[in-house]
């Protein structure tokens, strides 16, 4: 595989200065954070925006008529506009704030699924889904007897679509990830979405890994529901987004009940608020929305095409460096072509258990994830109990990959 010249406009040395945590030392060594697929770090711009909000503007939203309450409401709704712009939504009213993608998918399963899925109805998933896109559907299978079908994962770590049309036949919903959190695989969203629509099914896409890594346009992707998690895209924890086409949201019953989501409540009933507030019961994560908007602006300034180019280059560099150095002792799970994957790299090193590997890497202040990555069916498909996973973001560079490569040699000392 050829490695591109690092002619991307991403200036990692400058970006690293924007992330205070990267100045932290662990065991007296520079922190090498390679777990952004689990949760990314936050730039000062995000942290400052949240502090400034709490220090100058905090009040509950959509309630008070006083100045700072109006300002808090404006900031919260501005964040919705920013997220709508960031993912190509037609209107901010199609953007529902949730806790994360997990809650976004549960919202669709409970609300849309509750109203539209009955015994025998078919939902199509894939073998590479995160538990967040498996368990809500397994719950509906247990509760009301829906049928689940799975698009298989091939030996190359790509979805096997050879039987796509037959799998989709009669389905009501196809729900899948745009980028595997284990294999890094980028899935052919548009192709599957078009086939699903031709079969009369709606399409839900888990964008937890995709949107932080790639320019996202939900209308170009051709999907009906799309979930994003803020804390994986430089934003704070506790906020994410469900995007859905307006007519779908309008027709869906509310998910959680409480304040904010109602128009009127009497002792014998209630009427619901307009979308998107119909789905936002209770006081929302306001400061988190403010932080998320700051994250969006930070990424927009860099440009998502530049972000993708950087992570593509770094992924290719990592695959080349690790395989050149360790040969058959190191096995990368998933596609080896960086064009087919994002910056998420699961690997096996000799027969050292990922837990032990991660423990040894920590001695070099290298943070990688070890485990099943909330994708146990995929682990079984790969024939492993767990993997070690390094994942990259804009603040990682080739030097970080080199530290990882060096640190792997230390594992031989104990386990070789």
């Amino acid at each position: 595989m050829a490695i591109d010249a690092p002619a991307t406009p991403i200036d990692v040395a400058s970006i690293k200065k924007d992330f205070p945590i990267l100045a932290v030392e662990v065991h007296g060594k520079r922190l090498v954070y390679l777990d952004s697929a689990a949760s990314s770090q936050k730039p000062t711009a995000v942290l400052d925006a949240m502090d400034r909000y709490y220090e100058t503007t905090h009040a509950n939203v959509h309630r008070g008529v006083y100045t700072i309450a109006e300002e808090a409401t404006r900031l919260y709704e501005d964040a919705r506009k920013a997220m709508a712009r960031f993912i190509g939504a037609g209107s901010p009213s199609e953007v529902v704030f949730t806790k994360n993608v997990t809650e976004a998918i549960n919202l669709v399963a409970r609300s849309w699924g509750g109203a539209n899925l009955h015994a025998g109805d078919v939902v199509v998933l894939t073998e590479m889904e995160h538990h967040a896109n498996l368990v809500p559907w397994l719950q509906l299978k247990a509760e009301r007897g829906i049928e689940l079908r799975y698009l298989p994962v091939g030996e190359d770590g790509l979805l096997d679509l050879s039987d796509l049309d037959r799998t989709l036949a009669g389905a009501k919903l196809v729900a899948f990830t745009a980028m595997s959190n284990v294999l890094g695989t980028l899935t052919p969203v548009r192709r599957i979405a078009d086939a699903a629509h031709a079969a009369g099914a709606l399409v839900l896409v888990d964008g937890a890994q995709y949107t932080p890594a790639t320019a996202t346009d939900v209308s170009e992707l051709g999907v009906d529901f799309y979930g994003v998690t803020g804390h994986k895209m430089l934003g704070p924890t506790g906020i994410g987004v469900l995007w859905a086409r307006a007519e779908l949201l309008d027709a869906m019953p509310p998910f959680l009940g409480g304040g904010e989501m109602i128009r009127d409540v009497r002792l014998d009933g209630f009427t619901t608020n307009d979308v998107p507030w119909k789905f936002e019961a209770g006081t929302p994560p306001i400061a988190e929305a403010v932080g998320l908007e700051a994250a969006v602006r930070y990424l927009e300034t860099l440009g998502m095409d530049a972000v993708r180019a950087h992570e593509r280059h770094l992924t290719a560099y990592a695959i080349d460096t690790l395989t050149a150095r360790y040969g058959d002792d190191l096995r990368v799970h998933g596609p080896l072509d960086a064009d087919q994957r994002g910056g998420v790299l699961s690997f096996a090193y000799k027969d050292i258990h990922p837990h032990d590997l991660s423990q040894v890497l920590d001695e070099s202040a290298v943070c990688v994830r070890a485990g099943h990555h909330c994708a146990k069916p995929l682990m079984r498909r790969l024939g492993v109990g767990a993997t070690a996973r390094a994942s990259f973001s804009i603040y990682n560079d080739e030097a970080d990959v080199d530290v990882l490569a060096d640190a792997l040699a230390d594992a031989d000392r104990l386990f070789g």
């Binding site: 837990h355 423990q359 485990g371 099943h372 767990a386």
Partner: protein, 157 residues
């Protein structure tokens, strides 16, 4: 800050590389119990043969990290051939050693726990408590054995 040598003691690595009592036992007469560590996906199956009051045989299958596998291996040698009462005492003593950290989190310093039995090689696993995330690795086989012994004591009707 604890170092790797606190965790990966030589006796631990020996049991990891050369696990004792690997394999299965016919069920019945043996009893089998499978335990999972939801954190990392490790799973272990403990086969226990109890005759009268004695744990006459104990075998292990499954996969996991060096800590979970060596802990299971050492457990098998510590428990095999013991009376049920002695086996329970070994489990209690080991779990007490592993719960030092959790006790501190509860604000209960408690002072040193008087060990009921000598743990021998198992004391090498004491270093695990300095790595709280790994305690569940070390206790996986022990919790599974406890479940197996409970099932034997009170068979499902």
């Amino acid at each position: 800050m604890p170092g790797l040598e606190d965790l990966y003691r030589e006796i631990i690595l020996d049991h990891y590389r050369n696990p004792r009592n690997r394999g299965e036992l016919p069920v019945p007469p043996a009893h089998a119990e499978t335990g999972f560590n939801p954190l990392c996906g490790d799973e272990i199956t403990v086969y226990v043969q109890v005759d009268g009051d004695t744990v006459t045989d104990l075998r292990l299958t499954g996969q996991g990290c060096s800590i979970s596998q060596s802990s299971a291996s050492m457990m098998s040698t510590a428990v095999k051939g013991r009376s049920l009462e002695e086996a329970r005492a070994v489990i209690r003593t080991f779990k007490a050693m592993m719960s030092v950290h959790e006790a501190r989190l509860d604000g209960d310093d408690g002072g040193p726990v008087e060990p009921e039995v000598a743990l021998g090689d198992l004391e090498a696993l004491q270093g695990v408590v300095k790595f709280p995330v790994r305690i569940k690795c070390a206790t996986l086989s022990w919790n599974t054995l406890t479940q197996a012994l409970d099932s034997i004591a009170a068979p499902a009707s």
